[in-house]
Amino acid sequence: MSHTGHETNPASGPDHEFQTHVFDGKFQLQRCEDCGIAIFMPRVICPTCGSFALEWHPASGLGTIYSQATLRPRAKPGEQPRPPHSIVLVDLDEGPRMMSHLPSVAPEDIHIGMRVRARIEGTLSKHLITFRPEESKS
């Protein structure tokens, strides 16, 4: 979309933009240039002040586990039991919260308040922001 009558629209939608960054190996967040808030999920309008002035900025990738839920799959006849799978909510240092998971980290090793760092996991067709435990600096 570009010019349609009286409307001036961005060159591409925010989801497309976000996914393109992720595909390029970059985790970027929108920031409202008017009120300063960082935004996820991607939008065309600031949910805090209604501004259209949203720009993409590199995310620090750092965050803290806010909550966790662990799927314990039921064993099915003739199948190997599937391992438990923890879904987490991560509070990004920039402010927004996102759902994610920590690949190959046991549910028991994940806890609320734990510091995590984003990584981009991907195959050619599918890229995803996941997290891994952040090494303690102290």
């Binding site: 879904i87 919260r97 996102m98």
Partner: protein, 385 residues
């Protein structure tokens, strides 16, 4: 009563009906919905021809209200198909009152039907899902409520045993309700030992998945007094919502029920101490704890301790979900309409062996999607007008 609302006491529930509760093999959603609608109209002394306002949504049809109109042969003057999830039907009590009071309709029909159990054996997923959550393999709606429960437990020390207490109270009520789907005895130990599904929620922390249909007929209060049943008066209602996806919810331990409840209490001119019975949408055990807190029946974080020692169970000081709730009575995907039906039966004094004595007020609370939309409605008998 101190309220500035012109809607308080202006409408009443005059008929309720259910059909296909539990399992209804061979029937579809529209079939059992029609059976529930006839039952509700019959007991009110009204007919399908009298219905000129329709309030309805569901999970199986793209255009639920329109399909309902076609199936029932209705010709309504006013149609509200707002879909806020399972809370929709509690919200309709407010919007139906507005439509009745504005003269947009004279007989409002609120209805729902689903054959989740015999139809597909699972929740029918919504067409649109949160795209930034899906790749991480959540299971809706369980994951969302498990995330809320984990957070509540970490922040306030709420225990699995306290969650289990909610499931046991629901079962104790269900044992008094011949229409309830699960009526076998259930102990806290049973709940704790049941299969872990979405930690920290076990199988018995989760609602049933059944078939079922429910219908509620409302008219203006003055007409209600001339109909067959003792009127159940609408005293106040409120809705609130901030987000769709659980990852967009600002604080997982604090729901929009805070606002919907405040609005309903303000309209009713009542406070928590005036409420005799609660019907809270219990899709999961954590819901009851969250809603008791957010609706102001106990302080934030104290819901776990509040439900202990039988307080919300039969013979407890604050009866909650007197039909057995979504946990033990029935849960056909959207439960909201059943809170209105049980409120009505309790306020009429026709709830048989589960009847709460001297019940004059009932608060119904509906929850939509994944803690995404909240609707509260307060009803009373003639003494509360």
């Amino acid at each position: 009563m101190t309220t500035t609302s012109s809607l308080r006491g202006k409408s009443a529930i005059v008929g309720v009906g259910t059909a296909g509760l539990g399992e209804a093999p061979g029937f579809n959603a529209m079939d059992i919905q029609a059976l529930a609608v006839r039952a509700a109209l019959d007991e009110a002394g009204l007919s399908l021809k009298d219905v000129d306002g329709l309030f309805c949504t569901n999970m199986s049809h793209t255009f639920p209200a329109i399909s309902t109109i076609e199936y029932l042969g209705l010709n309504p003057r006013w149609i509200d198909g707002t879909n806020t999830g399972g809370s929709s039907f509690v919200a309709y009590a407010l919007s139906a009152t507005m439509a009745l009071e504005a003269g947009l309709c004279d007989v409002a029909l609120i209805c729902y039907g689903a054959t989740m159990r015999s139809g597909s054996g699972r929740m029918v997923p919504a067409a649109e899902q949160p795209i930034y959550e899906l790749p991480h393999r959540p299971r809706y709606p369980m994951t969302a409520y498990a995330l809320a429960a984990t957070r509540h437990m970490a922040q306030f020390g709420t225990t699995r045993k306290q969650l289990a207490t909610v499931a046991v109270a629901a079962r104790d009520w269900a044992q008094l309700n011949p229409d309830a789907f699960e009526r076998d005895p259930l102990t806290i130990e049973d709940v704790l030992a049941s299969r872990m599904v979405m930690e920290p929620l076990s199988l018995r922390d989760c609602c049933l998945l059944t078939d079922g249909a429910g219908a509620v007929v409302m008219t203006r209060a003055e007409r209600a007094r001339d109909l067959a049943q003792k009127p159940t008066y609408f005293l106040g209602g409120g809705v609130a919502s901030y987000n769709r996806a659980i990852s967009e919810m600002p604080d997982l331990t604090s729901t929009a029920a805070k606002d919907s409840g405040k609005r309903a209490f303000a309209m009713a001119g009542l406070s928590q101490g005036d409420i005799d019975i609660l019907q809270l949408y219990d899709a999961f055990t954590i819901n009851v704890i969250l809603f008791l807190e957010d609706l102001g029946f106990c302080a934030k974080g104290e819901g776990g301790a509040f439900v202990e020692n039988g307080r919300i169970a039969p013979n407890g000081s604050l009866p909650v979900n007197t039909n057995g709730g979504g946990l033990s009575f029935c849960h056909p995907g959207m439960y909201g309409v059943f809170t209105l039906i049980e409120a009505t039966r309790q306020l009429r004094g026709t709830a048989d062996i589960r009847q709460v004595e001297k019940a004059e007020t009932v608060l119904c609370h509906g929850n939509g999607i994944t803690l995404s939309h909240q609707a509260t409605a307060i009803f009373g008998n003639e003494n509360t007008l």
